[in-house]
Amino acid sequence: MAKLVVSFELNGVPTDVLTEPNRSLLEVLRDTLENTGTKEGCGTGDCGACTVLLDSRPVTACLVLAPEVQGRKITTVEGLARGAKLHPVQKAFVEQGGLQCGICTPGMIMSAVALLERNPTPNEQEIRYAIAGNLCRCTGYDKIVRAIEVAAYSAAAQNGAASPNGQVAQTAKTEASKTEVS
């Protein structure tokens, strides 16, 4: 079939790709653009490993036909860090050990980033709902939830907001003070 040009913004950079229409956004990101941070798990929208942001909203890239992103903005895990400075959610996943094998991690982080964009101070239930479409077979989720809480309340603690969970608030304060010192 005739190839077509798809133009979109990838992590803030205007991007054109020439692709057959029967390829997914995930295939274009990984195979054509060599942005392999986004992972493939199931390929059928069940596991959330390939979660990217489409105009700031989380979607499973395996179920997006590549031509559908014409004119849209895509954010992947590669677009979060600023140089060597990790995004607060990435930093919290590293410091709280919110990962084991790592395949679900980029997708988890994208879902968490999208959550904190629209709800900067989520409670545990809201966090668990936001990552309900992201499966992890290693961690049992608790450390992932903790990492997202810490990312949220480290930012919130700097603005003087209180966490609903005292222990997390304490961790968050400690993390926030480390950030100030460093």
């Binding site: 077509l4 959330g48 036909l65 031509p67 559908e68 309900a132």
Partner: protein
């Protein structure tokens, strides 16, 4: 995915002309969350895909008091579930839309796509059928309005003819003192498919007298079905917990579910009873609540 051609027309008229010109073997892509799975996993080989991505008019969600709610075929489930008019006047529609798949799926998928995919368990169908909603279908011979109660033919099959597509979902204005509720049962809270889903809408007259009730059952038949015998138990009667119990038992008796990996027929009948009771009770409260909210406007 096997090779196919891709078309993205920029108007509904252009889409209809394209379907007519290209002929058989085309598939409509609204969100793609069912279509891509059919292509990847279930051997579907479309000759061409017609995307709704550039048809701006089909992304709209609008409301007016004479024609009611209009949901464009390309409007995302998440936009429908969070739309102010849906939240205020059609909460039952939002209840269904926000249960489909994950947040990631709701940001891609559409209400019209959920209907056209025609799974017996589709969460958008029972709420809309209980609201007496229709779809506006466009084709080369013009447009037709199809009531959703007569839209489904069987699993994966609808009354849509070759060359036709759903342009909009239409729900009539909610009558005064009416309310609705949709609930489904799944073994886990998220990322699951309904074992049974029930949507109920109740319209009250004087006091608690029920003018009309519509109950739609999902996942208990090849298509979503109205529980008409249970509706007849309620019509014209004064609502009470006992009457709702009787309607719920009637709905369970008239349902003809099958046994499959998600549940046995007997289990599904039990769920029909439980969910019919719950949704009717919630719809009744919602119908009275609408009145209470209306009064408070005047009192303040």
């Amino acid at each position: 995915m096997r090779a196919f051609a891709y078309h993205a027309p920029s108007s509904l008229a252009e889409a209809v002309a394209l379907l007519d010109r290209e002929g058989d073997g085309g598939k409509i892509l609204a969100g793609g969350t069912d279509l891509l799975i059919h292509i990847k996993e279930r051997g579907m080989v479309p000759r061409y895909v017609l995307s709704l991505r550039d048809i701006k008019e089909l992304s709209a969600i609008s409301y007016d008091e004479s024609s009611g709610l209009r949901i464009g075929a390309a409007a995302k489930l998440s936009d429908v579930a969070s739309h102010p008019v849906v939240l205020e006047r059609y909460p039952i529609v939002g209840q269904g839309a926000s249960l489909v798949g994950s947040l990631q799926i709701q940001n891609l998928g559409t209400v019209a796509g959920n209907l056209c995919n025609a799974a017996p368990s589709a969460d958008c169908a029972p709420p809309l059928i209980a609201l007496d909603a229709s779809v506006r279908v466009a084709g080369k011979n013009g447009e037709r309005i199809v009531p959703l109660a007569g839209f489904f033919v069987g699993p994966g099959r609808t009354v849509l003819q070759p060359g036709e597509l759903v342009a909009e979902v239409l729900a009539p204005p909610p009558p005064p003192r009416s309310g609705g509720s949709y609930e489904r049962f799944t073994p886990r809270q998220e990322m699951d498919i309904a074992v049974v889903g029930v949507g109920s809408v109740v319209q009250l007259g004087q006091g608690d007298r029920c003018v009309q009730a519509r109950i739609c059952l999902g996942a208990v038949a090849p298509t979503p079905v109205r529980a008409r015998e249970a509706e007849a138990v309620l019509a014209g009667q004064v609502l009470s917990p006992e009457l709702i119990e009787r309607a719920a038992e009637t709905a369970a008796a008239e349902a003809r579910p099958i046994t499959d990996q998600r549940g046995t027929a007997d289990y599904r009948k039990h769920l029909v009873k439980v969910l019919t009771k719950r949704t009717l009770t919630a719809a009744w409260e919602d119908a009275r609540g609408v009145e209470a909210r209306g009064n408070s406007v005047w009192q303040n």
